[in-house]
């Protein structure tokens, strides 16, 4: 069972490679982002444990002391975030290609993705509009709930309405993300244009909503379960953060989460590739 779950059908190298690149980039950014903090903390006898000391006073002092660094750090992270988003917009076909076919080398998949860049950008633009719409819907629904309900409902209902507004926006955004994945699979595996792939993806989600949505949710849930488990572990172990072994174990677990997330994405695209290939075969 576990072996079956871990298997990506010969695509493990890509999973490890992408996770390693993401973690490497993250470490470089973390080193840059924390440079001023670590300079201070490396001189403190408690090291990073000082962040938990004196009832939050030292943490507050660090934040205030390095306030000048937050803006450039946020700027740097923002730029890298945008570059990453842009890069994966162009390489967004790589996982769908790898998922739909076996034995394709990752650089060939990347090249195919770049060749189909206009299609991928078109799909990304449609998805971007959808995300903006989802954000606005959440904002509008939560705002309406707060304004209109204040004099009529009890405060729990007001909170629930506001929360529901954001939940609906979030659910819409998630559905758009799912559709974007499916559309990319159709575009790359079946050679469809952006508009054709959009329609095919929508059709698949309508024709097989349970299977598609359940699979998308399932693989997403797995990835988030890793994150939640790591957060719980961090919470449990933080009190004993002075032990080097505990700290190393936690860091190891967190890095495995990143690997697990990439792995779950690959599994999802393998599943999607199978569905799209089958649909292609039926159509032919």
């Amino acid at each position: 069972m576990i072996r079956r779950w871990l298997s990506t059908g010969g695509r493990a190298g890509v999973v490890w490679g992408v996770a390693a690149i993401e973690l490497g980039l993250a470490w470089l950014l973390a080193l840059a982002a924390t440079a001023s903090l670590t300079g201070t903390l490396s001189r403190h006898p408690q090291g990073s444990i000082a962040l938990h000391a004196q009832g939050g006073r030292l943490l507050g002092e660090l934040i205030a002391l390095h306030a000048h660094a937050w803006e450039p750090t946020a700027g740097l992270l923002g730029v890298v975030f945008l570059v990453q988003a842009g890069a994966w917009m162009l390489l967004g076909g790589m996982f769908p290609v790898l998922g739909a076919t076996t034995g394709v080398r990752w650089h060939r998949a990347a090249a195919e993705s770049l060749r189909r860049a206009p299609t991928l950008l078109g799909l990304a633009a449609i998805a971007g509009l959808g995300y903006a719409l989802a954000g606005f819907a959440g904002y509008a629904a939560a705002g309406w709930a707060t304004r209109e309900a204040a004099h009529r409902l009890d405060v729990r209902a007001i909170t629930a309405l506001g929360g529901t507004g954001w939940l609906l926006g979030g659910a819409l955004a998630w559905a758009i993300g799912l559709w974007h994945d499916v559309a990319r699979a159709h575009a790359l595996a079946r050679g469809r244009t952006a508009m054709q792939a959009s329609g095919s993806a929508a059709l698949q989600m309508v024709r097989a909503p349970v299977a598609t949505v359940a699979a998308g949710a399932g693989y997403g849930l797995v990835a988030w379960t890793y994150v939640a488990a790591a957060a719980a572990l961090a919470g449990l172990l933080d009190a004993r953060a002075s032990r080097a072994g505990v700290v190393a174990a936690l860091l190891g677990a967190q890095h495995l989460v990143v690997l697990g997330r990439v792995h779950a994405r690959m599994k999802w695209f393998v599943w999607l590739g199978g569905r799209v290939t089958a649909a292609k075969a039926r159509a032919e």
Binding site: T38, H44, S48, G55
Partner: protein, 615 residues
């Protein structure tokens, strides 16, 4: 009958609203007020009986009409507002219109009354010439009729929908000091209030369906009078009267000791109400242990509904407004902190009735100290406000105060008047947090018990009076001695920065195999307070040296069998008013390994964020 029982029986026998020890009756108000929740007005009439508490005869009165601070965009209040502390333009202005003010023999005092000519466009003060002088100790009774129009909820008062927080709604006689000087002032956006003790006998009329919470115990009603409900509240030994009314209030009650605590809250806010009652169950005895008896038999806690947050977080005698999100976890002690702070004002403002306009640090700062102190009493060391082990570092009340004080970029003295601080933010950072850390420092230096006794002596002496800083200094001098009086004078009367830092820690091996080195301790600031310096060596050895800390720089030599690992100055945190604690400790050699977990954790979160736009 045991002594405790005898005392308890005596307290039970006291009439509601009466005090175990006498408070002066300088300004007595007997009013009948009718709330019109549609027009958002309170029409009232009655009498004000004022007794001259000074040593000189006076032939004038000053009345505060604070509600006129919201009468338009050009009032002193609106002109002095800063930042986003209060809105520039409430959707609905408010005002206080005194329609009639006459002496007992019918002399119309409004005919010659005037607003303070020194403050243009402002009607928050009314000067009244009396037909004859009132000698010291003599009284004058005035008949008054007025209409208060409430603003849309702003700066602690006003309405929101059908919710009404009726505060600063009546003409209030200013305080005449003992030397015959009137302490009157225009309502300033940084400022709170100042008034004299007296008895309030107020009948409140309101439409059926409404629930009212008011200062003092309800002694009559509610009963129908002319189609409206009427209830009567009578209390003495207080210097203000406020009430809240809403047709959607829910109520939770609990008797704590001899005090009936009522919480008025919005539907669905039962959880916050229960938390308010729970914290008061511990807070009432804790405050009484520290600061003496809470002499009133009632406390009303109002949780304003969503949208009326401007009315939240305020103190009136026996009535406080708080507020919090109902869904916050128990270990995020927002509602507890605010409730403790506002209840603390029953002492520092209520009974110890300093001039909030002239010396805001005496009420807000002392109350802030008391809040953190009782937070610690109730919730353990540090007085944790946020204590969610799974979600990150704990955050304590004392850390909150210290960080607030340390954040002051341009220090000012703490004993300034509220109107002397150039902005609300600068007022807040000085008056609240910095005062609290000064008192906390005094506590840490002289010992918890000794300081508690000192503060208690001040509260006992100042109870039902209008103390000034000199009264506090006198108690400190008597109890703790002249050096500590000098300390508090410097801390309260001068602008200061204070920091201790280990700026150098190094050692080297001498030819004999011993390690010799030194630590350099820099002191930036005025307080020469002796502290410990702790040396640790790489083998785990520890040595403590006491330094006088009476110079800007102190060099402490090190000698040991092992290399110096680290140096800490004042590791016991006996000077919480320091700007920074981070530089109180220093490694002889910077080490990267202890900070790797931090970098790793940040890397993890960055990787997750990057992954969200990844494959």
């Amino acid at each position: 009958m045991s002594l405790a029982r005898a005392v308890g029986a005596a307290l039970v026998l006291l009439p509601m609203g009466a005090l175990a020890q006498p408070a002066p009756r300088v300004a007595d108000y007997t009013l009948t007020a009718t709330l019109d929740p549609v027009r958002h007005t309170v029409r009232a009439d009655g009498t004000i009986r004022w007794t001259n508490p000074s040593t000189v005869a006076v032939s004038e009165l000053w009345l505060h009409q604070y509600l006129n601070g919201f009468a338009g965009p050009r009032t002193h209040f609106m002109r002095t507002r800063s930042g986003d502390a209060w809105p520039a333009h409430p959707p609905h202005w408010g005002r206080l219109a005194v329609e009639s003010l006459r002496t007992a023999d019918g002399v119309d005092l409004l005919a010659t009354a005037a607003h303070d000519p020194a403050v243009p466009d402002d009607a928050s003060q009314l000067h009244v010439a009396l037909p004859r002088a009132v000698p010291p100790g003599a009284s004058i009774t005035l008949a008054v009729r007025f209409t208060a129009t409430l603003p849309e909820a702003v700066a602690r008062t006003g309405y929101h929908g059908t919710f009404h927080m009726v505060a600063q709604w009546f003409p209030k006689v200013a305080v005449l000091e003992r030397d015959g000087t009137w302490s009157h002032f225009p309502f300033h956006a940084n400022s709170e209030f100042y008034a004299d003790f007296g008895q309030y006998d107020v009948r409140i009329r309101y439409p059926r369906g409404y629930v009212v919470g008011a200062t003092g115990p309800r002694v009559e009603g509610p009963a129908l009078v002319g189609g409206l409900l009427e209830e009567r509240h009578v209390i003495e030994g207080v210097h203000d009267f406020a009430f809240a009314a809403w047709n959607r209030f829910r109520r939770a009650d609990r008797t704590i000791g001899r005090v009936n605590v009522h919480v008025l809250h919005a539907p669905g806010d039962e959880r916050s109400a229960a938390r308010s009652l729970d914290v008061m169950a511990g807070a009432l005895p804790a405050f009484e242990r520290r600061f003496g008896e809470y002499p009133y038999r009632v406390l009303t806690i109002v949780l304003p509904p969503p949208g009326a947050e401007a009315a939240a977080g305020m103190e009136y005698p026996t009535l406080i407004t708080t507020g919090a999100q109902w869904w916050l976890p128990r270990r995020v002690r927002d509602v507890e902190y605010v409730t403790l702070h506002e209840f603390g004002h029953q002492y520092f403002y209520g009974m110890v009735a300093s001039n909030e306009h002239r010396y805001p640090f005496l009420d807000e700062g002392f109350c802030e100290y008391a809040t953190a102190r009782v937070m610690e009493d109730l919730f353990g060391p540090g007085g944790p406000i946020v204590d969610l082990p799974m979600a990150g570092p704990r955050f304590d009340s004392w850390a909150w105060e210290a960080l607030g004080s340390a954040g002051i970029a341009h220090p000012l003295p703490l004993d300034l008047g509220a109107d002397e601080y150039p902005s609300w933010d600068r007022y807040g950072e000085h008056v609240y947090s910095r005062t609290a850390v000064v008192l906390r420092t005094l506590e840490r230096r002289v010992g918890t018990r000794v300081f508690a006794a000192t503060l208690r002596a001040y509260v006992d002496r100042a109870r039902y009076t209008h103390p000034t800083p000199e009264d506090f200094y006198a108690v400190v001098r008597e109890r703790l001695g002249a050096p500590w009086e000098a300390f508090v004078r410097t801390a309260f009367e001068t602008p200061w920065r204070y920091n201790l830092a280990v700026t150098e820690a190094a050692s080297a091996r001498d030819p004999g195999g011993r390690w010799r080195g030194r630590a350099v301790i820099d002191r930036d600031g005025p307080f020469a307070l002796p502290v410990n310096v702790v040396f640790t060596d790489v083998r785990g050895g520890r040595r403590v040296v006491r330094i006088a800390n009476d110079r800007p720089v102190t060099v402490v030599p090190y000698e040991g069998a092992a290399a110096l690992r680290s140096v800490s100055v004042d590791p016991e945190d006996t000077i919480p008013l320091e700007l920074r604690r981070l530089d109180n400790a220093r490694m002889a050699q910077a080490l990267t390994a202890p900070v790797l977990p931090l970098i790793g954790r940040v890397a993890y979160w960055v990787a997750l964020a990057l992954g969200s736009v990844g494959p």
